[in-house]
């Protein structure tokens, strides 16, 4: 059997994980981590040139191509950031070399699991991959072994497992629903087969299955009221993991949900998944926006902002239709890029200041101008001020749904505005207030952060036609 690009984006992280687990010396391993992530990214780009054929286990279509490229790209930039972040952690003694070896191996296993979840053509395999991704992040969140980190990891583990268990029950129900139409055995879990025959499935069983899947994978997306693990996991883990969690893992869970939504769309007798998703999306937006006002920890604050943005994305996909799907997809991409850039900045800032408490950080634009303005730019982007990419995607979400559901869209806009107020209020002090905390110059790698921000800024002004056609195709696919 020859290995095509689909196999390669699984094999590269898997092999590097094994290598990183045995190689000593953090200088070398951090570099190897970057190289492996870059190789995975380049391989994923090759999917556009040579299309591997989909099989019973692996699948490639327009939808997951977008997700794969985004995942491997952010995975690569985060590994660059991680290298300089780790350097500081070793120097201050917060991490020991043994833990670092573990950390790098886990990073690649996480990449492997996320890629597998995205290209799996088997709903059972997809579930296993999401579970592996969850477990690796649990271990990484707890890596500092402080009280807070352990509590965060435990909470994440318990809530994540419950979510994952519910998702498995939903998966079993889908198989049960498919069995009369598709027959027993492997075919009953192959996604492409399921979609072909979904019209003949028992709608009642499919409905119950979707409720379980929505609750299960929704927990992983971080939708309120199932979000409780998310702020803790973001705040207490190493910052590169916060960036990957917000930027990628939430998307992967969302992707699983979208696959099942597509399946339900084929069956006209089943419930429309849209209203359920719209409701959960709106609750998340409003809830997270209100929670932003009372945050004291800077990483927790941006974690709540992630809940808000996942809410917006789920709202857009829930509304459906080519335009709203396009907007949701664009917003997801923009959010991944912006939020990870923000976490890159926040990670270095927390290292320079030696704290994550908002009250102890002040006057960043004076003490660390490059980092400060970088974060400011990220915040301007994330709250949706023009002319950056998120403004564009939020504008598209609102304009594409307003004519269909003016009241729901009004609630969404209200949530976005409340969140804007909350974030700017908090970040204003951090940026322009009295300079506080240590003022040592940062040993930071600015390239990943500014690359992301440049991409977001560019998307606000000009979207390349290739991207537009690609996203339009995916939006059509999503129905």
């Amino acid at each position: 059997m020859t290995i095509d690009a689909l196999g390669a984006i699984l094999l590269i992280p898997a092999i590097s994980a094994a290598l990183l687990a045995i190689l000593p010396g953090y200088f070398l391993t951090a570099k190897l981590n970057v190289v492996a992530a870059l190789a995975t990214f380049l391989t994923s780009l090759s999917l556009f040139v040579i299309e591997p054929t989909s099989g019973q286990y692996l699948l490639l279509d327009d939808l997951n191509k977008v997700f794969i490229v985004l995942t491997t790209f952010v995975g690569f930039t985060t590994s660059v950031f991680s290298a300089s972040y780790i350097h500081h952690e070793i120097e201050t003694g917060r991490l020991t070399p043994a833990f670092l070896r573990f950390y790098h191996a886990m990073y690649q296993i996480l990449m492997f699991a996320m890629n597998l979840a995205l290209i799996a053509n088997n709903i059972g395999l997809m579930w296993v991959a999401v579970e592996v991704a969850t477990l690796t992040t649990v271990l990484m969140v707890g890596i500092y072994r402080t009280h807070e980190a352990l509590e965060a990891a435990w909470k994440y583990f318990i809530l994540g497992s419950v979510g994952i268990a519910l998702a498995l029950f939903g998966t079993i129900l889908v198989y049960m629903a498919a069995r009369p139409a598709v027959g027993e055995g492997l075919d009953g879990m192959v996604w492409t087969v399921l979609v072909q025959h979904a019209a003949a499935f028992d709608p009642a069983l499919l409905n119950v299955a979707f409720v379980f899947l929505l609750l299960g994978y929704g927990t992983k997306v971080g939708l309120a009221p199932l979000h409780a693990w998310l702020p803790d996991a973001h705040a207490e883990g190493p910052t590169p993991i916060s960036a990957v969690l917000s930027g990628l893992l939430l998307n992967v869970a969302l992707y699983a949900l979208l696959r099942f939504k597509m399946m339900l769309a084929v069956n006209s007798a089943a419930i429309a998944p849209g209203p359920l998703m719209v409701t959960m999306g709106l609750i998340s937006v409003i809830f997270a926006a209100l929670m932003l006002y009372r945050r004291r920890d800077i990483k927790r604050m941006f974690a709540y902002s992630s809940i808000e943005h996942m809410g917006i994305i789920v709202f857009a996909f829930g509304m459906g239709g080519p335009l709203a799907n396009f907007a949701g997809l664009l917003h997801m991409t923009m959010h991944s890029l912006t939020k990870s850039a923000i976490f890159f900045a926040v990670g270095h800032i927390a290292q320079v200041k030696g704290t994550q408490k908002i009250a102890d950080i002040g006057g960043l634009t004076v003490t660390n101008p490059v980092l400060g303005w970088g974060l400011m730019l990220g915040v301007i982007a994330i709250v949706g001020l023009p002319p950056l990419g998120i403004f564009m995607s939020e504008f598209l979400v609102v304009s594409s749904t307003f004519s269909r559901a003016p009241w729901l869209t009004a609630i969404l806009v209200l949530g976005i505005i409340i969140a804007l107020g909350g974030l700017l209020l908090r970040i204003g002090v951090v940026m322009f207030g009295e300079p506080k905390g240590k003022t040592a110059p940062a040993e930071a790698s600015y390239v990943p952060m500014f690359t992301h921000l440049a991409l977001v800024a560019m998307a606000g002004i000009y979207l390349p036609p290739v991207l537009v056609t690609g996203f339009t195709n995916v939006a059509k696919l999503l129905g």
């Binding site: 509590e151 435990w154 419950v162 029950f169 055995g185 004291r296």
Partner: protein, 220 residues
């Protein structure tokens, strides 16, 4: 399928729900673990019976995993952990046992109503199995939310996974991938939990999750 075969399958799946109820009212950790071993044993029997009825030999593997791993290895290991940590005291319930049992009965009724109503087309055995499996899953969730102790939360989670295995074996012809993955995930989960318990012990003086709660929320 003969009615005897159906009755036995029904009996075993029903016993699993009963064992879940027994987990609900245990107030000592050792007793909880013993009941969990019983729970896993009943699951093994039930899965083995399904393997026989469906003439699906690969299910015997699942039954064996349930018997050896879940009913023997895990309870023994947890026993040792509890002894090492010295926490064989009473388990604190968040709400009273009476209320918990009432809630459990409500959940079982709910899952019967939901599952039997949506699966009129499926064969009788699969329907009953799914309804019982959902009951076990929901009871597992109930155990997790009503207990404060980390070990008993883990037991709740493992009983929940037993419910999932019951559902997966009840779905006739479900690919082996899933059964193995479930067993495997329990293994991974257990390793994770082991590490966590060890660390929690290292940092705190109890494995009572309430001790963790003190650190909840924002650092001030």
């Amino acid at each position: 399928m003969s009615s005897l075969q159906f009755d036995i399958a029904h009996l075993l799946a029903g016993s699993l729900v009963l064992a879940s109820f027994m987990l609900l009212y245990q107030d000592r950790l050792y007793a909880l673990l013993n009941v969990y071993a019983l729970h896993a044993g009943v699951l093994a029997l039930s899965v083995a019976w399904q393997a026989y009825v469906q003439a699906a030999p690969h299910l015997y593997v699942t039954a064996l995993i349930a018997l050896v791993f879940k009913a023997i290895i895990i309870p023994v290991a947890l026993h040792r952990i509890i002894r090492r940590l010295g926490i064989h005291r009473e388990i604190e319930n968040v709400i009273g046992i009476g209320l918990t049992m009432m809630a459990g009965i409500g959940l079982v009724a709910l899952s019967m109503v939901v599952m039997l109503r949506v699966t009129p087309g499926a064969d009788a055995l699969a329907r009953e199995d799914l309804a019982f499996a959902l009951s076990v899953v929901l009871l597992g969730l109930l155990i997790m939310v009503t207990r404060r102790n980390a070990v008993s939360q883990v037991v709740g989670f493992m009983s929940l996974e037993n419910g999932l295995v019951l559902a997966a074996t009840g779905a006739k012809g479900m690919p082996l991938v899933v059964e193995i993955s479930v067993a495997f995930s329990v293994l991974i989960a257990f390793i994770v939990i082991g590490i966590f318990l060890f660390r929690i012990r290292e940092r705190f003086d109890s494995v009572d999750v309430q001790a963790l709660d003190r650190f909840r929320g924002e650092r001030r």
